[in-house]
Symmetry: C2
Subunit: 256 residues, 2 copies
């Protein structure tokens, strides 16, 4: 088992971390054994779950460079089916250090191949760039989720992202597929949201998830309590949206 | 003359580009000769002003590497007092190429020293990272504006940003100051906005601008028309906010 899904979009602030945290928590709540890998030096997925490492505690950086085994860095901040491989700002160093290693593009893939036997789903949060860390996550993944904020600038970078995906598929990871395009921070009251959503559906057709994530303040409050939204306010629209997304992904994957 | 102000925050989607475009346009409308430098390979400042370069048109990338003189890349998409040094995705290449040049950290500073004689203010938009391009802009700047979205994750990265600024002040640019902290996407209806704003004011005190940028859909619609908000909808709250910010910055700088 152990399907790896990376959450990718080089545009900043589109809901990558919010999706990584809340989707992985919702999948774990649906009794799937899930590993969330925080692959962003900003470590927002980690802090959003109340996990803040000191300089001495090992994180994904040490596992990636082979300094510590994966088991030593894993945290369990929620319930039994949910594991986190936390990040720390020192992961910034990996951007330089990785490229001097042979086969550097496959580092995360190799790390997850051994680790992922224990998990049914591995979700990877990435930084807002198409640099070394994001490329590593595209090589490691079977599929990607592209969160897109329903705003103008969100459309601008898509061409570049798709070009990068095609290059990775050709050279480094032929199995890489798009799990889905996720519309985020949708606001029904704004024409802009409807216009951008229509353009995205015209372009990506069935690749767009049926589930839409609406703008909902509970989603931006939850991280300050160190909890995913399903534990912060299960009745909120944000929690219902991510539960529906988890169900849609489970259905798509367990049907085939 | 020619004060250079960089807009910096490695957190994604906090309003760097929206501030760069609308502040520089408001300053130019107040009869200051302004140059906006788009120093992000995503080129959102450029496309937000309707400027989309082809592969053959020179941009800030060629000027930075000394291939073309600055005059050759300058565009004038609005009115006479407003100039743009546009970007293109190929600027990504500069992240690698720059570091092989001697004194690479000073490249943008050297470029702007000769160019900035013609301008009273130079505003630099940066990508969501603390990499080579952002570091170059911190060395080139006299001061920086830090846009902060009034949300939880926005507070997380501040310590790292301040640490980077202190390191640059010590080693590469002792004159670097904080022009101000700008609260963006403030929503009066949300407790979260008020809570985060209070924490930011407690921490940064007078360094926080009096002007607050409220969440306003006109700001996110304007780029799809290739216009700054003052030309798209001058009566909107977004336009009024950025005009007030321009006045506050002019007052602070021309008083002393
Ligand atoms: N559906 C939503 N409704 C309301 N707020 C949201 C929603 N999704 C995300 N947010 C908030 O918007 C901000 C940006 O989201 P997030 O940090 O998840 O984006 P990101 O793509 O991970 O950003 P970065 O590019 O910096 O990694 C955060 O403050 C988050 O709490
Ligand atoms: N005050 C505001 N009210 C409403 N929408 C806003 C406001 N400021 C910015 N936006 C919208 O929020 C999104 C993020 O803003 P913007 O792109 O300027 O941030 P950024 O920090 O430059 O992002 P990146 O990190 O990707 O460079 C954009 O779609 C923009 O139109
Ligand atoms: Mg994130
Ligand atoms: Mg930007």
């Amino acid at each position: 088992m152990g399907k790896t899904i990376s959450i990718v979009n080089q545009k900043g602030g589109v809901g990558k971390t919010t999706t990584a945290v809340n989707l992985s928590a919702s999948l774990a709540a649906a009794e799937r054994r899930v590993l969330l890998v925080d692959f962003d030096p900003q470590a927002n997925s980690s802090s959003g779950l109340g996990v803040r490492l000191t300089r001495d505690e090992p994180c994904i950086y040490e596992a990636l460079l082979g300094i510590e085994p994966m088991e030593k860095i894993i945290k369990k901040p929620l319930f039994d089916t949910f594991s986190l491989a936390p990040s720390h700002i020192r992961l910034v160093g990996a951007e330089q250090e990785l490229t001097s290693l042979p086969n550097w593009e496959h580092r995360l893939k190799e790390l997850l191949t051994t680790a992922s036997k224990d998990y049914e789903l591995v979700i990877v949060d990435t930084p807002p760039s198409l640099g070394v860390l994001t490329l590593n996550s595209l090589v490691a993944a079977e599929s990607i989720i592209i969160p897109i904020q329903c705003e103008y600038y969100a459309l601008e970078g898509l061409g570049q992202l798709l070009g990068t995906i095609r290059r990775i598929q050709k050279r480094l990871n032929p199995r890489l597929r798009i799990e889905g395009i996720l519309l985020t921070m949708f606001d029904k009251r704004l024409n802009l949201s409807w216009q951008v959503a229509e353009e995205i559906r015209d372009y990506f057709r069935d690749a767009v998830f049926e589930t839409i994530i609406y703008r909902n303040v509970r989603l931006s409050e939850a991280p300050s309590f160190g909890k995913p939204v399903i534990l912060y306010d299960i009745h909120s629209r944000g929690a219902q949206n991510y539960i529906a997304l988890a169900e849609e992904i489970i259905e798509r994957n367990e049907k085939s």
